[in-house]
């Protein structure tokens, strides 16, 4: 039986879809069988980031409404044998599906996969409910900005109410030079406010943007620092102990944060 992990954030544009795509790919790279589910109905992006847009025939709503069987809607990745994705519908909206319908689909996927990665839409409305209800675990993505941390805090509170009591925190798009000048929130401070386990820090990397535009997840490129960071997160999800990435090699600004983290 696999584990369903929802990638959520509250705020838009912090990198939920990028994280979903890269974590899914990184887990597949390690040899796990993974299915990514895009629940951002009406604004689907995961297929674009994965470069699978042109292969979509059926989508999540088609499965929910019984127009096709679940295996028919699954798209196999072009790079990995055991990586699949279930795309969202583009012509409908979030209210055209219920949390119960999504949960049923997730439950149907779990026995066949090691991990089901659910890409959650921004916001805390119906779309959020759709994505979260079927999940066993959550990764809350934030960036070192006040607004993003505030929304992450809100989402952690709501997740707690929905029965996901210890979500993991992923801090995305860290720019070491801004951190050094004190123009960005410190990682320590973010962890202190949010008070949940940190599962990874991802440095800001131009290669991520380039890769997304080419429909190729960053994780594939071993020269990208973000790729290594995502691979580390995947290893932590599997229970390995991997130290946090040193963002500033010379000075070791994050010496204090050198904690060893594990996914529960």
């Amino acid at each position: 039986m696999g584990e369903a992990i929802v990638v959520t954030s509250g705020k838009g544009g912090v990198g939920k879809t990028t994280t979903s795509a890269n974590l899914g790919t990184a887990l597949a790279l390690i040899g796990k069988k993974v299915c990514m589910v895009d629940t951002d109905i009406g604004l689907r992006n995961l297929d674009v980031v994965m470069g699978l847009e042109n292969r979509i025939v059926y989508d999540l709503i088609d499965v929910a409404e019984g127009r096709c069987r679940l295996p028919q809607a699954l798209i196999k990745d072009k790079r990995f044998e055991e990586l699949y994705m279930l795309p969202a519908a583009q012509t409908k909206d979030k209210n055209d599906i219920t949390p119960e319908q999504v949960t049923k689909i997730i439950e149907e996927l779990k026995p066949d996969f090691d991990f089901v990665i659910i890409d959650c839409p921004a916001g805390i409305e119906q779309g959020f409910d759709n994505a979260v209800t079927g999940a066993d675990q959550a990764i809350v993505v934030t960036t070192p900005e006040k607004a993003a941390v505030r929304d992450a805090d809100r989402v952690i509170g709501i997740l707690d109410k929905r029965g996901i009591h210890s979500p993991k925190l992923l801090i995305n798009r860290i720019r070491p030079n801004l951190l050094k000048n004190g123009d960005m929130l410190e990682i320590d401070d973010i962890c202190q406010v949010l008070a949940i386990d940190l599962i990874g820090i991802i440095p800001d990397d131009e290669l991520v943007i380039r890769a997304a535009n080419h429909g190729e997840p960053t994780v594939m490129n071993p020269n990208s620092r973000a790729a290594i960071a995502y691979r580390n997160v995947a290893r932590r999800i599997l229970g390995e102990t991997v130290p946090l990435m040193q963002l500033e090699e010379k000075t070791g600004v994050f010496g204090r944060v050198k904690k060893f983290l594990r996914m529960g």
Binding site: D151, R154, I158, A195
Partner: protein, 219 residues
Amino acid sequence: MSVKSAITIKGTKEGLIFLLDDQCDFVSLLDELHAKLDKHEQQLNGPMVHVFVKLGSRVLEEEDKEKIRSAIRRQGNFLVQSIESDPEVAEQKEEPLGLQTITGIIRSGQVVSHDGHLLLIGDVNPGGTILSTGDIFIMGALRGMAHAGCEGNENSIIAASLMTPTQLRIAEVISRPPEEWASADPLMEYAFLRNGAMEIDKLTHLHQHRKEAILFKGV
């Protein structure tokens, strides 16, 4: 007379004041009222007299007040102006507020409200709200909004291990740090009202403010 009368009648410029005893039971009081009025029947003929009835601490239903009214009205020239109880004795006497302890993090969008004093073991994050009718003590960081004495108690205080709120309210007073006050060292501080304005001080100075005596034992 061996038995102390339950009814005292006083004359004033406005009329007569009937002071009714508030300890004896109502039936015997009514009996005595009838007896007293019957006894003075002859003397009480004449021009219209206003009567004010004082019940002391006794609180009566409208029905019972009517019984008193009709008893006095039988005299013909008596006009009952008012039947009153002493207001102070009946109410007031506030119960001392209890202290409720809660643990957890109040996150953005969450609200905790409580009747009485509140002790939170945990943080209040930005966007989170904590309300209480009494004092608020936070063993943790106050980064969100706290409102003490939210029903108007101006003596309430807000204390926190780390005092970096987005807003503080005590009773009707709202204060926005750091525009209105800023502290160099926000550790172990409390907020209170002095002459209607919010002030912040070290928590160790609270005893001077409250002047509550502690009974020390030992030498």
